[in-house]
């Protein structure tokens, strides 16, 4: 597997606060990377650097091997880096198809909206990706009437539909019920199935463990370690994370046991 995104020795501080102190991390093609870490670990700063919102003080960012100088939000989106923010992502009173095509509405040669084309594509997405089985949901349904998990799915489907290569999910299961959470995790598996990559940020390691290929743990602005969730039980994982929280690194394993 080649690396889609490579961060090397990224540093960033705000005033005197060192948010990131030399973080190196990579996301491979078609990899779902879990990013864990407590509040203040630097997760959101790191994400904002990847999406071009903040520029790093030091370090390099590579995209498909190419070094990216001065990454902007616009440039990141052109490359196919898309962030899905919970709740804030959708316009509630507008129909499903208007949300899917938000900001990228398609028009014909008379500069009139291609409404029927966009409806049809939405219908395909509903069937193939969202798997909405309810007959009550159509491309005209306002998204405000949908459940939290369905809305999360709409936001992910939107990113996938517009050829996002790397989808960043910032705590997508926050505030969702169990059933809704399961639905959202299914959508994350859909990203994998579509051959795209994902950075999945969540507090809940049970959720992360189910869908990710690899987990990177951040702590106080550094990478504290990484592990393969497939080879580790939930109990071991929790112990690891507690250890990281106390000592700031994985290395104390021998001491702990």
């Amino acid at each position: 597997m080649t690396n889609l995104l490579e961060l090397h020795d990224i540093t960033k501080s705000f005033g005197g606060v060192h948010a990131l102190e030399g973080v190196s991390l990579s996301v491979a093609e078609n990899e779902i990377l879990g990013l864990l870490g407590d509040n203040g670990a630097g997760k959101s700063t790191l994400i904002k650097i990847v999406t071009g919102f903040h520029s790093p003080d030091g370090g390099t960012i590579r995209w498909r091997g190419q070094s990216l100088e001065r990454l902007t939000v616009q440039r990141a989106r052109e490359l196919g880096i898309e962030t899905v923010y919970q709740e804030r992502a959708l316009a509630d009173q507008q129909s499903l198809w208007r949300n899917i095509f938000m900001g990228r509405e398609r028009s014909n040669r008379y500069r009139l909206l291609d409404v029927s084309g966009m409806r049809e594509e939405t219908e395909l997405l509903m069937r193939d990706f969202l798997r909405f089985t309810s007959q009550l949901v159509t491309p005209e349904t306002p998204v405000g009437t949908m459940s939290g998990g369905e809305r999360q799915g709409v936001a992910i489907a939107r990113a996938l539909h517009f050829e996002a290569e790397l989808i960043i999910l910032d705590e997508p299961t926050m505030g969702l019920s169990l059933v809704e959470t399961k639905k959202t995790l299914d959508f994350v598996r859909g990203i994998k199935a579509a051959g795209k990559s994902c950075i999945f940020i969540d507090h809940n390691i049970f959720n992360v463990q189910q869908v990710v290929d690899r987990v990177v743990v951040l702590d106080r602005g550094r990478v504290a370690g990484e592990f393969n969730p497939a080879t580790m039980s939930i109990v071991e994982l929790v112990e690891h994370l507690q250890h990281v929280a106390e000592t700031g690194s994985f290395e104390g394993e021998a001491v702990a046991s």
Partner: protein, 334 residues
Amino acid sequence: MSMEAPAALRQEVPTRPRLDMAELFRRYGLQSATAIMALVLWIILAVGASGTWLQFDIYSSLMSTVPLTGIIALTLTLLVIAREIDLSFGSVMALGTWVFMSVHQPWLGLLAGLAAGIGAGLLNGVIVVRFGIPSLIATIGTWFFWAGIVVYGTGGNGAGTEFASGSVTRLVTGRIGGYVPAEAVWMLGVAIVLWFVLNRSRFGAHVYLVGDNDQSARMMGVRTDRVRVILFALVGLSAAFAGIASTLEANYFWPTVGSGAMLPTVATVFLGGTSIFGGRGTIFGTVVAAYVIGAIEPGIVSLDLTGLLTQVIYGAVIVLALLVQAFVLRRAQR
């Protein structure tokens, strides 16, 4: 043998009806309610004062008065869908007309007057977008400002419009075929154009998004500030046109033109089902509502009710209509 039937049944793929009743109600419920209300009002008038309401004259008269508030209400509908408001249009009507009168050359004056309206709208937009002042407050400020400028500039004196009595007057307020006021055609044209803009253009899609969720629209690349400024400019343009039209209709320019326009125009927008919270509203609703609002006063007179009751009935119709809308909306969202 018994296995075959279920297998055959399973083969049947359920086909989804493209539009079911619930969805039809959700999409058209509000517009239908508005239309039904207008129809009920018309039946009451046609039965109660058939001498007036079954003759063409009253409609010819409505077609010359209603478009003056109607055209502004149409552009204001788009602005309200984008979750902004403009209260200054009354004095922008006066401003545009004053500029028109001052140029004293009909065609140039018309262009200059309309440009002044666009300029006043742009100013509103810039104040709101650049300085983050809520439009409700900002446009109360510009409302007083432009009204004051016009009173100061004219010294409070009116003037006749004889200089423009030729082609400009015919274009703006002529009678097509001797009967149909040109204003009505203008309003119909504006309504059709704005319907296409709102429902079939990217700009229109962005208007809804700005009003519904400005933050996410911005994240998805919609230039929300630009949308807002353009909408304010459109309201200014329509206000200047309405001011000039009402002045040419009266053949006399009063510096106070437009001073009574605010309440009926704003009432029209909300009566038409446009949401004050943004993200929802239709052109159809506003057109119907403009005629409902316009018909109330002549309706009261024709029913031989005292004119002193006008405001009572105005208020009652508006409150009743909003209650019906709230009811329809709650049903639709279930």
